[in-house]
């Protein structure tokens, strides 16, 4: 448990990005909560620094109602909302907003396998935009691995935000992935309410939840012979791989 605690990189209240300011894009797969999280972060910034210190941008022209949704939040907060349709548009918009303390960019959700991901990576790279990758705690570990690998090319990937922590049965796989890829965890979201359900990471709580065992009645909990069988199978695979390698071949992955 100490290893996990040491391995988990997080921000604290002294390095809260809403205080430091900057341009941040929220990126990630579909349906993880990018727009809602953008609104929560916007509220956090406005509450501390005032509406004039923030501008909102959306690059999502694809999803029905994406721009409208952010505009509604902008209206409640008294913050301007801009739509940027492409890289040139984004550059012009960011140029206009260069003196704003903080700019938050809501982006289109996309599959990590979509080649648009690399286009988006390039667009943000050209414009000095830091990215925050949103990861849902309800996703499978292997999917999250896939997602992070696709976005790791972002030279300005500042870190990640873990969403739907309230919905996830276990935090083990998502925290494992974050630790392994050495991503810095900026915020944790545990519900749909704007602005309440967004928090700086609470390390003891997260680590505790990650190691908490599944309920006894859960079919996903390993019981009886199962742990042994799982480990035996893993050991057999490893032995197999070793023999292939020593025979001069390559291991199939």
């Amino acid at each position: 448990m100490g290893g996990a605690d040491r391995g988990l990189l997080t921000t604290d209240s002294e390095s809260d990005i809403v205080d430091r300011g900057g341009i941040y894009a929220l990126v990630g797969p579909t349906g993880v909560g990018k727009t809602t999280t953008t609104a929560k972060l916007a509220a956090r910034c406005v509450l501390r620094h005032g509406a004039r210190k923030l501008a909102l941008v959306t690059t999502d022209g694809y999803r029905i109602g994406a721009h409208e949704q952010l505009r509604i939040y902008g209206r409640i907060l008294g913050v301007s909302v801009h739509l940027a349709r492409d890289a040139a548009d984004l550059r012009a918009t960011l140029q206009d907003l260069q003196h704003t303390h903080m700019v938050l960019i809501d982006t289109m959700g996309m599959s990590q396998r979509d080649r648009l991901v690399s286009e988006q990576v390039a667009m943000f790279g050209d414009n000095d935009v830091k990215s925050l990758l949103l990861l849902s705690a309800t996703s499978r570990g292997d999917t999250l691995d896939d997602v992070i690998r696709a976005y790791n090319g972002l030279q300005n990937l500042a870190g990640c935000i873990l969403t739907k922590v309230d919905e996830a049965a276990s935090l083990a796989s998502s925290l494992d992935v974050i630790i392994r890829h050495r991503l810095r965890l900026y915020y944790v979201s545990n519900g749909q309410r704007v602005p309440e359900d967004l928090h700086l990471p609470n390390r003891p709580y997260l680590v505790h939840r990650a190691f908490r065992d599944l309920p006894e009645t859960s079919p996903h909990r390993l019981a009886g012979l199962e742990p042994g069988l799982m480990m035996a199978s893993a050991a057999a695979n490893a032995a197999n791989a070793a023999s292939i390698v020593s025979a001069g071949g390559t291991q199939r992955g």
């Binding site: 609104a39 509220a43 939040y73 409640i76 519900g191 749909q192 704007v194």
Partner: protein, 294 residues
């Protein structure tokens, strides 16, 4: 947990949809500096910018209502004693400007019974159209030494005119309130100024002394020029900005009004007039006049 009484942004709306009520008190160290005339004109300028202004007047003489040519017949005290309704006491002196004569009740705030306090709070919560800005014209002599309204307000503006006596009186007032009530932030408005540089000099002078004695931080709110138009307008019981909008004094009041609306709220705990009044009553119970005469 999802609460279906609203949408997911219900908390956000609660935080941001409140009209931000601003309460500013105007005080002076002595008579004749132009405090009430400033309050009357400022109220008019704020109303011209679309704000609903309520002037709470602690003065019996030279009241703001009198400046508008409206006679004062009643007092908030009569509402507290259930002799009159608030609607009968409040005076609509101009579009967007209402005056609440409160001279009598303010002197007795500390000795109101619990029932009377409740009436006071309730009635101020129901002043009809809610106010955007409350200007308090504080009285000079107060049994408690300083108006509790001045202490409970967000901003206190000390009006001073550019002559030795007024400056001395203003400084004495600042010293009294700073030492007696730990109120350490004030704004200075210089009225009847012959030139902007004179007014700036008055402010610099008084701010320097207050700062060096570590008494208070003074911000410069601006100045109102000495202006014949202003005198004419007041003789006609009209705000100068309506009669002579291009007069220097009118322009000064207009820019002061805009600036006032943008003054930062020190503590962002704005929950309306009832809250202010509750704080006020709370304060007036605790004010100890002996502290400042010591």
């Amino acid at each position: 947990m999802v609460n279906l009484r609203g949408d997911q942004a219900a908390g956000l709306r609660r935080l941001f949809s409140r009209p931000r009520l601003r309460i500013v008190t105007f005080a002076a160290g002595g008579v004749g500096v132009g405090k009430s005339i400033a309050v009357a004109n400022l109220a008019a300028c704020l109303a011209r910018q679309g704000k609903e202004v309520l002037v709470v007047d602690e003065n019996t003489d030279d009241s703001v209502a009198a400046y508008y040519g409206v006679p004062v017949r009643h007092d908030l005290q009569q509402v507290v004693h259930r002799e009159k309704s608030l609607a009968e006491v409040i005076l609509s002196v101009a579009p967007g400007v209402r005056v609440l004569p409160a001279a009598k009740v303010v002197k007795r705030l500390a000795s109101l019974s619990a029932a009377e306090q409740r009436i006071l709070v309730d009635s101020l919560g129901h002043i009809g159209r809610p106010a955007d800005v409350v200007l308090v014209d504080a009285s000079l002599d107060h049994p408690l030494g300083f108006s509790p309204l001045g202490l409970a307000a967000h901003d206190t503006v000390i009006v001073v005119s550019p002559n030795g006596a007024a400056i001395t009186d203003a400084y004495a007032l600042i010293k009294k309130v700073s030492l007696g009530y730990s109120r350490k932030n004030f704004r200075i408005l210089v009225s009847k100024a012959r030139a902007a540089s004179d007014a700036q000099a008055v402010y610099d002078n008084i701010a320097e002394v207050a700062h060096s004695r570590q008494l208070a931080r003074l911000d410069y709110a601006g100045h109102v020029p000495l202006d014949e138009s202003l005198r004419q307008a007041s003789r006609l019981c009209q705000p100068v900005a309506g009669l002579f909008p291009d007069a220097p004094s009118a322009r000064a009041y207009q820019s002061l009004a805009s600036a006032l609306l943008n003054w930062p709220n020190g503590d962002v705990d704005v929950r309306g007039l009832e809250h202010f009044v509750q704080q006020l009553l709370h304060l007036s119970q605790r004010l100890d006049p002996t502290a400042i005469y010591a």
